[in-house]
Amino acid sequence: MEVSKDRKNTKRSDNVFSNRDNREGLRGWLNPTRYGWERVSYWFQRLTGVFLLVYFIGHVYETSSLINGQSAWNAMLELTQTPWGHMFLILVIGTSTFHSVNGIRLIFTHAGKGVGTPGRPDYPYDAASLNYRQKSGIWIALILAVAAMIYGANILFGTE
């Protein structure tokens, strides 16, 4: 039973489950080059989520200037109601639209809707889950985000 003996002598560090060489950390998380559309959408969902959380905290803080009276509120408006402030708001509109629409796609996907049915793996072994429904969902999220940004720009810069 030579094989069993070899297995017994194998160090734990040689085991594939304890080999951490493939751990890339943040770099691996941010690197979409080796992946398809689903990976890019995964990346965008997380980046937009973190960005929107930071904006939300800033917005709660910004709004709290209300309780210090009209002059404090106007001083805050002078900081935020500028062309750059409006550009930032347009970015918030785009990211929130993408995050919302793509999030709805993910809810359906996690519920098993739109991921297709299991089939025989044939060359070139395309992922069955990344079908035209999923790709369309990602494209719809991107297109709606751009449309919302254009509408937002029209509101913000059109009333100046």
Partner: protein
């Protein structure tokens, strides 16, 4: 009480969908008049005096704080998994959620009692 990750994700999805609905109303309220006029101090304070709108703002605050910080928790748990990290991340996100809700609620309460003009 132990909450399963699947239950937390259901809460994440429900708060996300609910937040889209209430934020849509919040944005529509900004568009009922010219955007710059809607941000004038008197108009904003008048919004806070209107109890249903103040309740809407409170619901936005709670829903987005829960959804946002739980999303951050999920991201941080994807980076690293061990008992100490997971407990630390969970405690941090719960504390941050409570702090943001408390700070925002204070603003809503005080602004709803502030004199208009």
């Amino acid at each position: 009480m132990m909450i399963h990750e699947s239950q937390i994700m259901k809460i994440h999805y429900i708060t996300g969908i609910a937040a889209i609905s209430v934020v849509a109303v919040h944005i529509i309220m900004r568009l009922l008049m010219p955007f710059s006029a809607s941000l004038q101090y008197q108009n904003v304070i008048a919004n806070y005096h209107y109890i249903p709108y103040a309740l809407l703002l409170e619901s936005i605050l709670i829903l987005i704080a829960i959804h946002g910080f739980n999303g951050l928790r999920v991201i941080l748990l994807e980076f690293r998994q061990n008992r100490r990290w997971e407990e630390g991340v969970t405690i941090f996100t719960i504390a941050a959620t409570i702090a943001v809700i408390a700070y925002g609620t204070r603003t809503i309460l005080l602004a709803s009692q502030a004199p208009i003009g």
